[in-house]
Amino acid sequence: MLSTFLAVLRRDLLLAWRGRADVLVTLAFFVIVVCLFPFGVGAEPNQLRAIAPGVLWVAALLACLLSLHRLFAQDYADGTLEQLLLSSEPAALWVTAKVLAFWLSTGLPVVAVAPGLALLLDLEQGALPVLVLSLALGTPILGLLGAVGAALTLGLRGGGMLLALLVLPLFVPVLIFGAGAVEAEMSGSGAAAHLLLLGGGLAGALALAPWACAAALRITTD
């Protein structure tokens, strides 16, 4: 069972590595969205510092949303997905592997770049570890929830907008606790409660989302 998991993980990571351009585009999108905000709201440092956690989190969330369609689209188009579903391995297992590969190739780069962008918005340096931790705990939840939406909208016309409509309301709690953790750290009340809730959310999503996603994939390819 572990070998299946590792095989799918390795394959998806290799594919992501061969198509590095897609990953870089996601990263560039994240950077540009964050850089747009000072133009929109003005470059006053105090204001930027106040909105920095929210801006970084919303940008990370949008970057994740825009790359979600890549999760299953190629496998669906070339028939790999059907072969995987036909195999005797439990679907929730390789779905988890695919989501993990997706997170490693799109979520992790965003997490790595975020502290640099935070300095651009003049975020306190003391809050940087909390920012990284909250993104590292929160973006996998976005990937897991998004995978269910991506599986349901697979191969539909206008699937991208539909996917956004489906998953954005579900992303709201993650956004609240993620951005809230950084704000709590900045205001001095401590981010432990927010980070624990994010961790709990990740554990819950990890337990439930792969099953829902596997069921959705079966319906889609039926």
Partner: protein, 258 residues
């Protein structure tokens, strides 16, 4: 001996060709009840109930606002229930019911938000505040939109049914999480500046008017959903013999009257 027979007779109506005439017979009664109760409730609310001591006449919007908000939340639960039944028991009618409920739920959600805004302007001085209840109601509206958009976007009805059922269930699991997270977010930000909880002592006529309107909203929902389910059944089963027979009979009745 009696019990299994009765349960079988109820399950009989899970078949669309048995449900269709039953819904047609029941819907007008529910519609009539809705009409009478709406008039009674509005009369109670606008003419009998006393003016509120602190809020004046504005408070009377609750006779529409509160029943709409109740219905919008309850309908989502019923939708998720029918979706689960459909996935487990594999009955086509369950999916029809959940999809027939969605537009009415979204409508009540919108009415609750709209009347809330009209009430908020004179009372709080703003059409919208990011209060926990308002925000979670708004997100509920987005969940309805997502469900409706997904089921309409998929052309194959089998896939549309099941995909819609999954997203309804995922949404139902998330509704409490969204509600509590939004509540916490709000209290963290601005404290309990605005509370929607009313004064505990509510005149009996106010309460009566609100309850009558709530029952009217129930009756309206049942009537509309039955009618919508009927037309969805006709559309889906248009290739079957019984639909042909039903349409022919209805055409004859109309022809006879003309």
């Amino acid at each position: 001996m009696n019990a299994p027979e009765r349960s079988r007779s109820l399950f009989r109506f899970a078949a669309p060709h048995n449900f269709y005439p039953l819904a047609g017979r029941l819907a007008p009664w529910f519609a009539a009840a809705a009409l009478i109760l709406t008039f009674a409730g509005l009369w109670l609310g606008f003419f009998v109930a006393p003016t509120d001591a602190t809020q004046g006449q504005v408070y009377r919007v609750i006779f529409i606002h509160v029943p709409a908000a109740w219905m919008s939340m309850f309908i989502y639960l019923v939708m998720a229930f029918w979706s689960a039944v459909g996935l487990v028991m594999n009955t086509r009618l369950s999916f029809v019911m959940s999809q027939a409920l969605a537009p009415t739920g979204a409508m009540f959600c919108f009415v609750a938000l709209w009347t809330g805004a009209l009430w908020g302007k004179p009372t709080w001085g703003a059409y919208w505040v990011w209060d926990a209840r308002l925000t979670s109601q708004l997100l509920l509206l987005f969940l309805y939109f997502g469900f409706i958009a997904l089921t309409r976007a998929i052309e194959d009805p089998r896939r549309a049914d099941r995909a819609g059922a999954i997203i309804a269930l995922v949404g139902a699991v998330n509704v409490p999480i969204i509600y509590f997270s939004v509540q916490w977010w709000n209290t963290l930000h601005q404290g309990a500046s605005v509370s929607l909880t009313k004064a505990p002592s509510m005149a009996t006529t106010m309460l009566a008017g609100m309850l009558v309107m709530a029952i009217a909203a129930w009756m309206y929902t049942i009537a509309v959903v039955l009618w919508r389910a009927r037309s969805m059944i006709l559309e889906r089963e248009r290739h079957t013999e019984w639909v042909g027979a039903v349409l022919e009979r209805e055409a004859q009745l109309k022809g006879g009257r003309a």
